[in-house]
Amino acid sequence: MASVLAIFVALRHNRTRETRVKSGAMHAPDFTLQTIDGTAVRLSDYQGKVILLDFWATWCAPCKQEIPWFIEWQKRYGDQGLQVIGLSLDDTAEPAQKFAHSIGINYPVALANEDVANRYGGILGVPVNLVIARDGTIVAKYVGETTPAKLEQELILQLKQAK
């Protein structure tokens, strides 16, 4: 009986969750953070672009599984106006830096802080991926493991919107 319950518990939570923010949604709060490479990343510098804001951590296996897609999308859609930004919940920059360099992350990665997390509604589980439209509004929020096709479609939709 315990085994059955354990299996049930294990199977129950291998699902994605998507919360699509309704129209009239909030403007993405601006932030300035130091990247793991020592430079600064400011959200408002990417005004006019479609932003994929990824809250992740090196101890989070599903987070690390998503990143190769993000690297590929940055390459494929960067010229069309996509900008991926990674915000790590690691306690220090070192593990994020090591991972980023090992996998070849091609977009800014910074350490998130409590202030930014709170302004984005609280990051109480990872991964969390937010799609920010060209006008700066948050149009979609994905909590937990995401179907890559679904997220990519969202980005393509937003990239087609006029600048």
Partner: protein
């Protein structure tokens, strides 16, 4: 001829023994490098959020609560009274945990929790639990958080605090 055969057999035995030992070492190293996921925990050691919330609200027989998740999440929201230990998948956290419980009676009621990610992906609670188990603690429960701390605790309106401890 007999001496040559014996030597050949002995050589083969030594080779096989060496290969077995080598593969055992490789397997042990591989096992250690794999994260211990929450799903390895027996359901008998789990406590549901509603039950823990009820215990906290009753205000009696409250267990020691150790947060073995990331600090960034702890400071945003944690169970009131929970002590931050650190992400259980970090060896430094296990060292801190051992130090913290060193003087505690082995029957102390302890609840461990994380909430970083879906239960079947959490790498933090199982290492902490097995550490306490190996130290002889017999009254340890792990808070079952199905999706994450937000969905399964905070947004359900269960008792929550924020900030550093």
């Amino acid at each position: 001829m007999r001496a040559t055969n014996s030597k050949s057999v002995l050589t083969r035995i030594v080779s096989v023994a060496f290969l077995l030992s080598f593969s055992h070492t490789l397997h042990a190293q591989w096992s250690q490098s794999q994260p211990q996921l929450a799903t390895m925990l027996s359901s008998s050691v789990l406590i549901q959020p509603a039950e823990l919330a009820q215990t906290l609200r009753a205000g009696k027989n409250k267990p020691l609560i150790f947060n073995v998740g990331p600090r960034m999440m702890y400071v945003q929201a944690h169970i009131p009274g929970a002590e931050f230990i650190g992400a259980g998948s970090d060896p430094d956290t296990i060292t801190r945990l051992k130090t913290r419980v060193w003087s505690l009676p082995k029957k102390s009621a302890i609840v461990l929790y994380c909430g970083c990610c879906p239960w079947d992906r959490c790498p933090n609670v199982a290492p902490a639990y097995t550490t306490l188990q190996k130290l002889g603690f017999t009254n340890v429960k792990v808070l079952y958080i199905a999706e994450n701390l937000g969905a399964d605790w905070v947004y359900k309106g269960y008792p929550t605090a924020s900030g550093n401890q």
